[in-house]
Amino acid sequence: MIGTIVRRLLSMLPVMGVVAVCVFLLLHLAPGDPAAIIAGENVSPENIARIRAQLGLDQPVWRQFLVWVGSLLTGDLGQSMFWGDSVTSLIGQRAEPTISLAFTTVMVAVFLAIGLGVLAAACAGTLVDRLVMGFAVMGFSVPVFVVGYLLIFVFAINLKWLPVQGYTPISEGVAPWLRNLVLPSIALGMAYVALIARITRTTMLDVLAEDYMRTAKAKGVAMRPMLFRHALKNAAVPIATVVGNGVALLIGGVVITETVFNIPGVGRLVVDAIARRDYPIIQGVIMVFSGVYVLVNLLVDLSYTFLDPRIRD
């Protein structure tokens, strides 16, 4: 097992290398000039050129790449061109809101989606099944920002139950922390619920059609243990795969959700950085997001051995 984990971790290196090259090239070949944005509007072209030189942007792209990769290999993600703060510290400052949002979203989405998927499978072909699947299609089709604005309008402005925006650190209390995360988690979780509920239903239907399930039913096993103790366990591997793959969806959604709900997380950090071409931040955040994605998928792969003893053997 340890050998497998080490091999998988080592296989991350070329993946991260490809990500690094792609991110750097895409950013630097795309138009846009951070120096001109930092300088402000009424500035002479000479001053902009001086700032460009100070930032090292007048160097050939290959040299800029080597400098960046050199820093990356020592664990240094660089410094923000605007504030001068290290990218690592900026990501560190913004990590808690993003991790909180992702955590609450995954928790809500996984429990809700698995429940809905099992329900739809158990009631396959009935109105309940259609309603659940209709909800899934809607969740997948409506963009996060539309759901977000609707939730703000109803629950924050009209009913005044929850705040419109912002984030309260968990250190200031669990209740205020949760209050700020309810609406964003629902908005972000909609697509995730839809994705997992659909795969849960499909997998459950396959498992429910197996001979051993029919045998269990014939032996008089009650519906609830049959669904949750026998069927769901056997349907777990594909569901875990989708939960893992859905992290990419979650990362994309986090970027939008944090903007709509003004959550000062890593997603907002990268959106703001893109608008002003703060290259080190964009590169650093994408590298971190990519690393998280690869690691989550590694954990999902490892989880198979726990979910299905046949794979372990």
């Binding site: 000039d33 509007e41 002479s44 900026l90 419109v164 002003r276």
Partner: protein
């Protein structure tokens, strides 16, 4: 050690207290919401050095933590601020200034002439107006701790106006240590003598900037007016929140989560005006002016006749209405200088008074020998007023017979591409759009676009000797009446050579909660002193 339920609970509670402790302590030291203003300005602060950049958000930060020697009042006249007294010699070459009593840096040390002198020098290198002043300065020196002298090579009547102006970069006074930083490098510490102190502990760059009332600040005794007068802080804390999504900011204002929103979208103003808890208020009557940059280096606008043709094509009303909708937020303007400014005039504006005249434009195009070559127009699609203006102007030009190619891109791309002097079909451009504050457009020296110095000038690189001679005359004019005469001459010449054009003028109303009052009307900067929250 035996693990019991009690030890688990005790350990858990201890861990929770350890995690929550710092946050709870921080929360306890925060001023109450009633003494805190949460404001959403128009953007993020790109750098804490308001001299190094002309970005308005850095000037907002500067106005909080730094003070200026002079400030303009509500009538745009310079008034002493850090200065208690000043005088000029009979030959008008030596200005003497005395700092007022009680000025202290936020670290507790006294503000002296040794701080003011390098601050003026550093500002003069970075500022557009300072660069006009710099060659006329013989020396800036400290006479004693409270007195300093600016010695000039020739009389310069606009000296106080420049020191007082709120156009970026403002002449903020910094500690000697920061002021002696190379003007091309950013300062590394924020220590000011202004009405607020940056609370670095609670500030999170890119998210929120926290300013606490400066207990050492001694305001002037006069009532506040513009950026001049007594800067009396009536709250404990001001927080600038960076909230890029305008819909969220409007909702937060309506829900009372923020107190002030600088740039509510025009199409949401009705929603805000209908809210009994919100006031929509215009804080600066001169507003902003839309600027159309023309590239003089390449055809077709290297040709004066073709630039003149544009005067008869552009219909400002059609370019502004899609964005600003209600005429109370915008106005058309034929003056070379901001309409509503003291030097607005109507010299050589027959083209404007006559309205759009495509027949005349076509005649000028024919006279200028327009050969149908493409006109590359840069269109910033992430800034609605620029995007709409470009869309409409492209169509107006097509109606006259220009072959216009819109080049849609984001603003970051526009600011890069407009610096290119390459031909338009090789990565260059013919037309770009931007805007400038009404105050900066109220004189011929504050923005680079007013200069016609060719290669060394601002984007578009127009060249015209007469304009430069007239600008020089302006700088030497001693009275407003004399300046008005020169302004009319500058305008008469400008609308012949057409260095650039305008697409009208507008105001951006702000929105704030009704219980937050005392907002001062200042161009280019939003002051947070004098503001009361009840």
């Amino acid at each position: 050690m035996k693990t019991t339920r009690r030890t688990i609970m005790t350990t858990g509670l201890a861990a929770a207290a350890t995690v929550a402790g710092p946050g709870i302590l921080r929360a306890q030291t925060r001023p109450p919401a009633a003494r805190t203003i949460r404001a959403v300005p128009h953007g993020d602060i790109p750098t804490y050095d308001p001299i190094w950049t002309t970005a308005n958000m850095s000037a907002y930060h500067g106005a909080m933590v730094y003070d200026t020697l002079f400030g303009i009042d509500a009538n745009l006249a310079p008034q002493p601020q850090m200065v208690s007294g000043f005088g000029v010699s009979e030959d008008k070459l030596t200005w003497t200034f005395e700092l007022r009593d009680g000025l202290r840096w936020s670290d507790g040390s006294a503000v002296t002439s040794a701080d003011a002198v390098p601050s003026i020098r550093r500002w003069a290198v970075r500022s557009g107006s300072g660069q006009l002043l710099l060659p006329r300065i013989r020396d800036v020196s400290a006479k004693d701790d409270k007195t300093f002298i600016i010695a000039l090579k020739e009389p310069f009547p606009l000296l106080l106006d420049m020191l007082a102006s709120s156009t970026t970069p403002l002449c903020f006074i910094m500690r000697k240590r920061e002021a002696e930083t190379d003007p091309m490098q950013k300062i590394d510490q924020v220590v000011g003598s202004g009405p607020f102190i940056l609370n670095a502990g609670e500030t999170k760059a890119g998210n929120q900037y926290v300013y606490d009332k400066n207990p050492n600040y001694v305001p002037r005794g006069e009532p506040p007016s513009g950026i001049a007068g007594g800067k009396v802080v009536k709250v404990d804390r001001v927080i600038f929140q960076n909230m890029p999504d305008s819909q969220t900011a409007v909702a937060a204002l309506q829900a009372g989560e923020i107190d002030f929103y600088e740039i509510p979208p025009i199409d949401l103003l009705d929603q805000l005006q209908g809210d009994p808890n919100i006031t929509v208020e215009n804080l600066f009557e001169l507003g902003a002016e839309g600027y159309i940059g023309l590239n003089w280096l390449h055809p077709p606008f290297d040709n004066q006749k073709l630039r003149q043709a544009l005067l008869y094509i552009v219909k400002q009303e059609d370019m502004l209405r899609p964005t600003f909708v209600d005429p109370k937020w915008y106005r058309t303007c034929g003056s070379w200088f901001a309409c509503g400014s003291p030097i607005e005039n109507d010299a050589n504006t027959a083209w404007f008074k006559g309205g759009q005249d495509l027949a005349k434009a076509r005649a000028l195009m024919k006279e200028g020998g327009y050969d149908g070559r493409p006109v590359v127009m840069l269109q910033a699609t992430n800034i609605p007023y620029m995007m709409n203006a470009a869309t409409v102007m492209a169509q107006q030009m097509r109606s006259a017979g220009f072959n216009v190619q819109l080049a849609p891109m984001d603003w970051a791309n526009v600011v890069q591409r407009r610096s290119s002097k390459a031909p338009p079909d090789q990565g260059g451009w013919n037309i770009f759009f931007t805007s400038s504050g009404g105050l900066a457009m109220s004189n011929p020296y504050m923005i680079g676009g007013m200069a016609t110095i060719g290669d060394k000038g601002w984007f578009g690189w127009p060249t015209d000797e007469r304009n430069e001679q007239l600008r020089d005359q302006w700088l030497k004019a001693e009275t407003l009446e004399q300046r008005k005469v020169v302004a009319a001459q500058i305008q008469d010449n400008a609308w012949n050579i057409v260095p650039h054009m305008y697409y009208g003028q507008w105001v951006q109303p702000t929105a704030h909660r009704k219980n937050v009052t005392g907002w001062l009307h200042v161009p280019e900067v939003i002051p947070f002193w004098n503001v009361v929250k009840t």
